[in-house]
């Protein structure tokens, strides 16, 4: 192609402009780093690393710039940056749903080689967490400090009032099966509470029944019984009016954690008993839900929470850390990754402060027995989650998860809304998958 010729033309043309543009960007960054300290750049999709970065800055006397990109745009934004190397970060994080794809590409530096030699410390990590960072050719590309089994976080005061106990084990019994869960939901409803904020919460307890990857090694989409059940569970929740119509991640979802929210205003004709306010009993959240979702959004109900298990184990999310293979700051980047994933002192503080459940065994072994979380009324969530972590099967993670989960979720919603029958919704889901990934065959073709 004639790209070379064009390049010459353009470079002449934009010489002046490029200078202007550069001025601009250097102005921008000089606002942030006064002085000549080394600067480490980090990209992530949440602010959860902020305290760690503060600690790192102090200890190493360097500057760290954290760039947060909303998770929905994260891969779309990051990929071209990594591909071109322009403005690429030294460290970037990957959520569980992206990790599988990214370890196969050359963007992350390989860590099981000199001078990092992570294989030597691999025994210190919860196995599945470590193995998820390994790609098909055996290279370890990323590490994580956390493990992410899920549970059900519920309000103690409401449990006491309606269910007669706030003890996690007793409440766990009432969630032990699908039927028990819906029964509990009905009880709560009679008392004017709602089981879950929205229908999304049940996906874990439907799809977690028989976990399978979305797409197998032959590029075939797998539809499981559990996934099909998800449609029915969600519909049932809606029909029996067990939710508060507060969709996941919406302002109402967050507000419902800390008190009553406005509900079915105007529905009084339908149900004379209905109030205009309603409180939510429980949220299905994993380990990180405690410190990055509940704690920052809760004031009045702090201390009134506890965590227990649902009908089946599940896991959700997790953040992996790796350094950009083209980084010029690898030593410093490695320092940071080590601190975040393999520094006993720092991680002990981190765990005690945030309640995050670590994947680094030397620390978890040390603190798990007498861990007590004030936010959960003194409950030891550590032993609970570490037990749940044993049940995690990470082989179900695929590189398609983010997009396919989104498509599946929207089809479940359409079924719940009554727009489509279950068959239509499933069929439409297959069509959507094929449309985005023409190489995948769906069950209706197999």
């Amino acid at each position: 192609m004639k790209k070379v010729l064009l390049f010459l033309l353009i470079s002449v043309l934009t010489l002046g402009l490029a200078a202007c543009g550069d001025d601009d960007s250097s102005n921008g960054s000089s606002d942030d780093n006064s002085g000549d300290k080394e600067t480490l750049t980090v990209w992530s999709f949440t602010d959860e690393l902020e305290p760690a970065i503060e600690a790192f800055k102090e200890e190493h006397d360097v500057d760290v710039e954290l760039t947060i990109v909303p998770i929905e745009d994260y891969p779309t934004r990051l990929r071209p940056v990594l591909e071109s190397g322009q403005g690429a970060p030294d460290i970037f994080t990957g959520e569980l749903v992206f990790v599988k794809e990214w370890i196969e590409q050359g963007y992350w530096e390989t860590l099981n080689q000199e001078p990092y030699n992570v294989e030597e410390i691999s025994d210190d990590f919860v196995e599945y967490v470590y193995e998820l960072g390994r790609n098909s050719s055996g290279e370890v590309k990323a590490l994580s400090w956390q493990t992410t089994p899920g549970g059900i976080f519920y309000r103690r005061s409401i449990a006491e009032e309606v269910l007669g106990t706030d003890d996690p084990e007793a409440v766990g019994e009432m969630f032990a099966t699908r039927d028990a869960m819906f029964e509990t939901g009905a009880k709560l409803k009679d008392a004017g509470y709602r089981l879950f904020p929205d229908e999304g919460a049940v996906r874990w307890f439907a799809q977690g029944q028989d976990p399978e990857p979305w797409v197998n090694e032959n590029d075939e989409l797998i539809m499981t019984e559990g996934r099909l059940n998800h449609f029915d569970y969600a519909k049932e929740l809606r029909e029996e009016d067990l939710t508060a119509f507060a969709p996941e991640w919406s302002p109402a979802w967050f507000a419902a954690m800390d008190g009553p929210i406005n509900y079915n205003a105007g529905w009084d004709e339908v149900d004379a008993e209905a109030t205009t306010e309603v409180e939510v009993f429980s949220y299905a959240l994993p380990t990180w839900g405690l410190h990055s979702v509940l704690k920052p959004n809760v004031e009045d109900t702090a201390g009134d929470w506890a965590v227990t298990s649902g009908p089946n184990p599940y896991f959700w999310g997790g953040t992996w850390l790796g350094m950009y293979s083209g980084s010029e700051n690898k030593d410093l980047a490695w320092e940071f990754i080590q601190m975040m994933t393999h520094d006993e002192e720092f991680l002990t503080d981190w765990a005690l402060e945030t309640g995050d459940v670590l994947s680094y065994l030397p620390v978890t072994d040390k603190i798990k027995d007498d861990f007590s979380e004030d936010f959960l009324g003194g409950q030891n969530n550590y032993t609970f989650f570490l037990e749940e972590a044993q049940k995690i099967d990470a082989s179900v993670v695929t590189r398609y998860d983010q997009q396919i989960d989104t498509m599946f979720g929207s089809m479940v919603t359409e079924y719940v809304e009554g727009v489509k029958t279950k068959e239509e919704a499933v069929q439409e889901f297959y069509n959507l998958v094929r449309n985005s990934y023409p190489q995948i065959t769906t069950p209706d073709q197999q």
């Binding site: 202007c20 543009g21 403005g87 302002p251 507000a255 205003a265």
Partner: protein, 281 residues
């Protein structure tokens, strides 16, 4: 005319004025809701629905917003880009229009017709190729893809040329040449002032177009500190700010209110430009 018709006209008029005022109110209600809600806390909005009276949470909302995203930065970015686009497209379009009107050279008709034809091509047609080229040149995540291409604004060239052909007197240029002026001097000293009314009309269009452009910066910019305002607004939706309705409303208000204020001072000018742009067509 007799008294009765006059009276009748008066009644009709007052009905119409009422309707017009109603339409104005409808136009402004969304902005009013926005401003009221920007001062209320998330819990307040969710628990109490809508009220006409502002709340007291504006400072909290502002802090939540700024903690996550510096909208003023987006403002500055958008302003820089829009100004650069306006200046470059105005200057180079004037240059091109002048070239087409003043000189008779081989192929000028063909080239001008090419411009006319390509004026009809929707901007999205070359998007994929455009993105690819920008990546090849390493211009992604810079303002170059936003600022440089408007140098070739077909519509502006077309408009300026039409304008120039109605106001240009060749005797003026001849006189300047006899005085020994260089062609570029003639352009700067005679051409530009002559085209000024039309240039300022088009400048307003360029500015508004660049200011509101969403898809192009969305595709070519990656670093949040370089986002223009529309992209920053889009990013707000998926961000932690979206957890707090009050902060969200405030963010939108910040992106809207300065423009409204500027418009109050410039409305006459802007509207006469739009009128001029339409009629010249």
């Amino acid at each position: 005319m007799n008294e009765q018709t006059k009276k009748k006209n008066k009644i009709i008029k007052s009905i119409f004025y009422t309707l017009l005022v109603l339409l104005v109110i409808i136009s402004f209600i969304p902005f009013y809701m926005m401003i009221v809600n920007a001062t209320r806390s998330n819990a307040d909005i969710l628990r109490n629905g809508f009220t006409l009276i502002p709340g007291q949470a504006i400072v909290d909302n502002y802090n939540v917003l700024l903690e996550y995203m510096n909208l003023w930065r987006g403002f500055a970015n958008s302003l820089i880009v829009a100004l650069a686009v306006t200046v470059l497209s105005s200057y180079f379009s004037a240059l091109t229009a002048f070239g087409f009107s003043v000189y008779k050279f081989k192929g000028s008709n063909f080239l001008f017709v090419t411009i006319l034809v390509l004026m009809m091509v929707p901007g999205q047609l070359g998007l994929i190729g455009f993105y690819d080229i920008m990546r090849t040149f390493g211009f992604l995540d810079t303002y170059i893809p936003l600022i440089v291409p408007p140098i070739a604004s077909t519509f502006t060239v077309f408009f300026l040329r039409q304008f120039l052909s109605s106001v240009l007197h060749s005797s003026l240029i001849e006189a300047a040449r006899i005085d020994g002026a260089h062609e570029f001097t003639i352009f700067h000293k005679i051409g530009v002032p002559m085209m000024m009314p039309a240039i300022s009309t088009m400048a307003i269009f360029s500015f508004i177009g660049s200011w509101n452009n969403y898809i192009l910066p969305l595709v070519v910019l990656f670093s949040p500190e370089k986002y223009t305002l529309p992209v920053m607004m889009g990013a707000l939706r998926g961000s932690q700010v979206a957890q707090n309705l009050g902060a969200m409303y405030l963010g939108i208000a910040i992106s809207v209110v300065p423009i409204m204020t500027a418009f109050i001072f410039l409305s006459k000018y802007i509207i006469s430009s739009i009128s001029a742009g339409a009629v010249k067509e």
